[in-house]
C-alpha cells in the first residue's frame, strides 16, 4: 500500500485514522505515519484545527427525583441503563459497558428517553449537550435530571474542508479558537445555549 495510493488506502486509511482518533487501535508509529500520509490526501477531506475548542462530556441522565450517587463507572453496576443504539463512547467505556453494565440499546434518542421515563431503565447515557437539546425538543426537560459527574469527556475540534476557500485562514482561526477557549467565551456560549429554547 505504501508506494501507490489506491482505493484500498481509502478503506484502510479510514480504518486507521478512525481507530487512532477514537483510541481503538494502538498508537504504533507505523499507523501514525500512515495516518499523516492519508490526512494529506483529498480522501481525508477535512483538516482538523488544533487546539480543541471545547470538551464534549458524556452524562448520566435520570428521572427527576430518582437520582443516585454517581462518582465512578462502577456506581452504575446493578442498575438498568439505556443508550442510543448507534452511539460509541470510546473503547474503554464501551468495553466496560459491555462487560460490567446492563445497558440496553434503543433505536434512536427518542426511544432511549422514552425507556427512561417508562421506568424500563434507571439511567440514560448520552452526550451532555445533545442530551439537553433533545430533552428540550421532546419537552421532557422538567422530568429528568443530569447527574453532576460526567462519565467521560472528549475533545471537540473545528475542521476545515480541504476544498474551503478559507484554508489560508486556518492558522489565524486556530489562534482565535485558543483565545475563545482560554478566556471563557466558549463556556459562556454553551451556558447561553443551555438557557435558550430548543429550535
Amino acid at each position: 500500500m505504501a508506494e501507490h495510493f489506491t482505493a484500498a488506502d481509502v478503506i484502510v486509511g479510514a480504518n486507521i485514522r478512525w481507530g487512532l482518533m477514537f483510541k481503538m487501535i494502538p498508537p504504533r508509529q507505523e499507523f501514525i505515519d500512515y495516518a499523516a500520509r492519508i490526512a494529506a490526501r483529498p480522501a481525508a477531506y477535512l483538516d482538523f484545527i488544533e487546539p480543541p475548542f471545547m470538551a464534549d462530556p458524556v452524562a448520566v441522565v435520570v428521572r427527576k427525583g430518582a437520582g443516585f450517587a454517581y462518582a465512578e463507572w462502577r456506581d452504575l453496576k446493578g442498575r438498568k441503563g439505556v443508550t442510543n443504539a448507534s452511539e460509541s463512547y470510546g473503547d474503554k467505556f464501551d468495553a466496560y459497558m459491555a462487560k460490567e453494565l446492563s445497558v440496553a440499546r434503543a433505536e434512536g434518542v427518542d426511544k432511549a428517553f422514552a425507556a427512561l421515563l417508562a421506568r424500563q431503565a434507571d439511567y440514560l447515557i448520552i452526550g451532555l449537550y445533545p442530551g439537553r437539546d433533545e430533552a428540550r425538543r421532546l419537552r421532557i426537560a422538567g422530568k429528568i435530571a443530569f447527574l453532576p459527574k460526567e462519565i467521560l469527556s472528549s475533545a471537540m475540534y473545528v475542521a476545515f474542508s480541504k476544498k474551503s476557500k478559507c484554508g489560508a485562514l486556518q492558522a489565524a482561526f486556530a489562534g482565535a479558537i485558543k483565545t475563545a477557549a482560554d478566556d471563557g467565551q466558549v463556556r459562556q456560549l454553551l451556558q447561553a445555549a443551555n438557557k435558550a429554547p430548543s429550535h
Binding site: 500500500m1 482505493a7 484500498a8 478503506i11 448507534s86 459491555a98 462487560k99 434512536g108 433533545e134
Partner: protein
C-alpha cells in the same frame, strides 16, 4: 473516495439519532439499515464501503485508484480493499465491545486482534 476521483457528487445525510437509517425510504436503498454509505450511480445502487470503492475505482480508471484486471498486483490490491471491513473493523469493534462469553479461538473471521494490527502495521509501512 469521491474526493479522490474528482467527480461531482451529491451527499444525502441520514440522521441516526432519529433512526432515519431504519425508515422505509432508506431501507429501500439499503435493507440492512446500516451506517455504511450507499451509492447511486446512474441506475446502479451499491452498498458496503469496499464494494463502493471497488466499483468506483474500476468505473473511473483515469483516477488510477484501481489495479486493473490482468495486473499481477490486482490480487494484493483486492485483499487490502476487503481487509478493512473483513478484518480491521470487526477486530476493533470486538475489542471495544467484548462479548460476555469469549469466542473460541479461530471462530472469528478476522482471527486475532494483535495479529490484525501487526499485519496492517507491516503493510502500511511498506513491509507487507
Amino acid at each position: 473516495m469521491q474526493e479522490e476521483l474528482s467527480q461531482p457528487y451529491d451527499v444525502k445525510l441520514i440522521k441516526l439519532s432519529t433512526g432515519d437509517n431504519l425508515k422505509l425510504d432508506y431501507l429501500e436503498i439499503n435493507p440492512m439499515g446500516k451506517v455504511v454509505p450507499a451509492l447511486k450511480h446512474g441506475d446502479t445502487v451499491i452498498t458496503e464501503a469496499a464494494a463502493i470503492c471497488t466499483y468506483l475505482a474500476d468505473e473511473f480508471p483515469g483516477a488510477k485508484l484501481n489495479i486493473p484486471i490482468g495486473t499481477p498486483r490486482r490480487g494484493v490490491y483486492l485483499k487490502w480493499l476487503f481487509f478493512g471491513p473483513s478484518c480491521i473493523a470487526p477486530a476493533v469493534i470486538d475489542r471495544a465491545a467484548p462479548r460476555k462469553e469469549e469466542a473460541r479461538r479461530g471462530m472469528l473471521g478476522y482471527g486475532y486482534f494483535e495479529i490484525v494490527m501487526n499485519v496492517v502495521a507491516q503493510a502500511v509501512a511498506g513491509r507487507g
